[in-house]
């Protein structure tokens, strides 16, 4: 069974610091668990592409920033995401983009966690599709908030998510869509990637867990007949 693509606002996703694997095998799917309990093997995000940079050394490694009304997603496309890398490198920010990709958490040495997305598909979209994504993501988030008291214990203990805090995230996103409130990104909204990437984020870097690995969990049974 293919994993569905979860809908999570950047403000929530960027606070994720749990990654679990289902089963022992190297093909077992991994999930980033967000504070309200979304189990993300795959994510679908729509937002404004604000920046694309090639931060690779020998091979290209593109880092793109995709901004939603609540924060910024970090998208990394390297040699195992050639199509997405090509599309991203040809884009001229700012543009509305849709990104489908694998959820990942990158851990540099300092113990920090930086949630990111390894893209499988990237495409330009219009404002209408961005708005629809905000509505769907608001709905999915509200659904998770309704079940917040049923969070698995380890998720509850890790995050202690506050209902009001995440309701505010949803409100902020919806008001932004309606033009009722301009979002001023605060420093906390931006994931702190900064200088860490050249140190640890490289395909040849030995430190840190962010490494360019073959996307083995992408091996899924599809009938193309």
């Amino acid at each position: 069974m293919r994993e569905p693509a979860r809908r999570v606002f950047a403000a929530e996703y960027n606070r994720s610091e749990m990654k679990v694997k289902e089963g022992e095998s190297q093909y077992a799917p991994g999930y980033v668990i967000t504070p309200t309990g979304a189990r993300c093997n795959r994510l679908f995000v729509v937002g404004v592409l604000t920046e694309v940079e090639d931060i690779g050394r020998e091979d290209s490694l593109y880092r793109a920033r995709v901004s939603d009304p609540t924060g910024t997603f970090l998208v990394y496309a390297g040699r195992y995401q050639p199509e997405a890398a090509q599309v991203l490198s040809s884009m001229e920010p700012p543009e509305f983009v849709a990104v489908t990709g694998k959820a990942d958490v990158y851990q540099p040495d300092d113990g920090d966690t930086i949630p990111s997305i390894r893209p499988e598909a990237v495409s330009t979209v219009d404002r209408g599709e961005r708005d629809r994504w905000v509505v769907t993501t608001a709905r999915r988030t509200i659904e998770r908030l309704e079940k917040l008291d049923q969070l698995p214990e380890e998720v509850e203990e890790r995050y202690h998510p506050s209902l009001n805090e995440y309701r505010d995230v949803v409100r902020e996103a919806l008001r932004n869509l309606l033009g009722e409130e301009r979002h001023e990104p605060s420093v906390e909204d931006e994931p702190e990637d900064g200088e860490a990437d050249p140190e640890t984020g490289r395909a040849d870097g030995e430190q840190g867990r962010w490494r360019e690995e073959p996307p083995v969990e992408d091996v899924e049974e599809w009938d193309f007949s």
Partner: protein, 317 residues
């Protein structure tokens, strides 16, 4: 005692010791015995004994289609035939005629296979007794076997066929339960082998290098399609958009796609053009075949995101 009184007396007695069976089924069996002059209490005992012998846990009895599960025995349903196809399959090397199709009632839809004659047409209401179910693509499939009885009924309680086969709004998770599911979802990926494909004129299979896996070298005909993933954040399904749907979704006709490929001398440009639908929200009406959603019609969602946003905000206050 009148015949009716005898019947209701016997039925009361049976119902005290037997559940999991439809009243209709019990009544039929009792009536038959009473018609042969068996006294009511003996008729009741006979039926109780009969039902007790068959494993009550395994005998499904009468159910609505939505309640059927794989691996049932003794299943009785009343439903309308929504479609039927005659097929010839090979069983141990011997050709065998079978009938497969879909049944519908007000609760849902169920595929069926009949291993015997099935002299009913689309729209007919039938009562199928003592059928069994198998699992097929994670869904139950009703089997009409040697011990299954099928009879035509008036079907006054069943919605008309047009209603049963009209589009039904469902989530992707429930798409395979509807005969004509209509789902609201987003195209989150366009898979390889989308765009221009060549098809065998005999069997419609996609050819590779001008060869059909069944018919060998053929004069293949061009077609345009998209293989996509539809996803609503909760579930996803692989979908096929046939030519008309692909043309309306992308604004690229088959002729234009051929022209693009000719100019670039590469069919890949059409694939990349198709990939631009990633991110599009759609309302897709179609049919689930196996694990594939075949889209027959794709539209833009009607609701405005602004209205939806206002509604959600209000609910949050």
């Amino acid at each position: 005692m009148s015949a009716d009184k005898k019947l209701s007396k016997a039925l009361e007695q049976v119902k005290q010791s037997v559940d999991d069976f439809s009243e209709r089924e019990l009544t039929e069996e009792l009536r038959e015995l009473l018609e042969y002059g068996v006294p009511p209490d003996q008729a009741a005992e006979t039926v109780i004994r009969r039902k007790g012998r068959s494993d009550p846990a395994a005998a499904a009895g009468e159910k609505k289609l939505a309640d059927a599960v794989p691996g049932e025995r003794g299943l009785t349903v009343e439903a309308r035939v929504l479609d039927r196809r005659d097929r010839t399959i090979k069983v141990k090397g011997e050709p065998r005629e079978i009938v497969s199709g879909s049944l519908g009632d007000e609760t849902g839809v169920l595929s069926f296979t009949s291993w015997n004659e099935f002299p009913f047409e689309e729209g007919d209401a039938v009562r199928i007794s003592n059928a069994y179910t198998r699992e097929w693509n994670d869904r139950p499939e009703l089997q009409v076997g040697d011990y299954t009885e099928v009879e035509e009924i008036a079907g006054e309680d069943l919605p008309p066929a047009e209603e049963l086969s009209s589009p039904r709004d469902v989530s992707i998770r429930d798409a395979s339960r509807a005969y004509r599911p209509r789902v609201e979802a987003t195209v989150i990926d366009v898979l390889d082998r989308s765009g221009l494909v060549m098809r065998c004129p005999e069997c419609n299979r996609v050819t590779e290098g001008g060869e059909c896996s069944e018919h060998g070298p053929v004069d293949a005909e061009p077609d345009l399609r998209i293989k996509a993933v539809l996803d609503d954040g909760d579930s996803c399904i692989q979908a096929t958009f046939p030519r008309e749907v692909t043309e309306s979704l992308t604004g690229v006709t088959l002729e234009e796609a051929e022209e693009m490929a000719r100019k670039a001398m590469d069919r890949g440009v059409v694939q990349r053009e198709m990939e631009r639908v990633v991110g599009r929200a759609v309302v897709a009406t179609g049919r689930v075949l196996g694990d594939n959603f075949v889209a027959l019609d794709v539209e833009e969602p009607e609701s405005s995101p602004e209205d939806d946003a206002r509604e959600l905000l209000e609910a949050l206050q």
